[in-house]
């Protein structure tokens, strides 16, 4: 109920150009606790980067900042990224299977329906891109 409305990650400013900052942050992977993470490929404890508008703000390269993403946007991203394609997959499978009675057809249809889905995402990428706004906050 009183959960924070934003998700924050600590990051470092990598580069600033044209009022945009590239901010790198560490995404903890599921294996974050594992002692072999340093060597285990599967444990992608990876540096991720985001680009943020910082026009009018003063940041320096190397400065620690908090990357902030509204929680609702995170959930939206989850929807676009995983939930919708998942639903699409299921629905297509069942519909095509139901109509044709062919597993192969159903399965392949389900797989290939992802192509137009991602195609759609690609078409609307600027629109979607505008939705996902991060901002950065000075580290306190």
């Amino acid at each position: 109920m009183d959960a924070p409305k934003v998700i924050e990650h600590e990051g470092t400013v990598r580069e600033i150009r044209d009022g945009k900052a590239r901010v790198a942050f560490l995404a903890k992977s599921a294996c974050a606790h594992c002692q072999l993470k340093g060597v285990c490929s599967a444990s992608e404890i990876e540096d991720k980067e985001v680009e943020v508008d910082v026009l009018g703000q003063t940041y320096q390269v190397g400065e620690k900042v908090n990357i902030v993403l509204a929680r609702s946007l995170g959930i939206k991203a989850l929807m676009y990224g995983y939930i919708f394609p998942f639903l699409l997959l299921m629905v297509t499978l069942f519909v095509v299977y139901g109509i044709t009675g062919e597993e192969l057809a159903g399965g392949l249809a389900a797989l290939f329906v992802l192509v137009p889905y991602y195609g759609g995402l690609y078409l609307f990428r600027t629109r979607i891109g505008k939705e996902f706004k991060f901002f950065v906050r000075k580290f306190v």
């Binding site: 606790h33 594992c34 002692q35 072999l36 340093g38 060597v39 285990c40 599967a42």
Partner: protein, 195 residues
Amino acid sequence: MNQWKNFSKGLIAENAIFVQVLGMCPTLGTTTSAYNGLGMGLATTFVLVMSNIVVSMVRNYIPDKVRIPSFIVIIASFVTVVELTMQAYLPALFEELGLFIPLIVVNCLVLGRAEAFASKNTIWSSTLDGLGMGLGFTLALFMLGSVREILGSGSWFGLKFIQGDGMLLFVLAPGAFLALAYLIAIMNKFNRKNA
């Protein structure tokens, strides 16, 4: 001396299960008895040693970027070898271990050693490393299997020493978690004292 260390570190100091808490799935899933634990441990050890050997053999010829996929292929091949061999000659055990034999492929321990050690060390060191790690893993599985079998069925390697049943829970899923929890806790204590 150093070679000894390559071998021995996996037994206790860097024990995959008690210290590093890796590869928990087979650890929990296959240790209903001492025999099963031992079998799973040895199967994993085999894959670990063989893949370590092969990886260290080819390490200089594999370009960096396809390192991981190549390793996966190598490991998966050995897993399949184990699978086929067990199916042929140890069908009963294979049935007991079931799913977990193919899952050796994704055991972080195997890939982890290939990537962390074998890809940077000589064949001999890698063999010892694999052997040590594998035996440490086997040891832990064997211990867990023993505990669960003794408490759960009142027997060891199938030899009954009490009448009737043991505490059934220990051969079932919850028993696996509980037994492992307390084994790790005891090992922690033991290790900390040594350290």
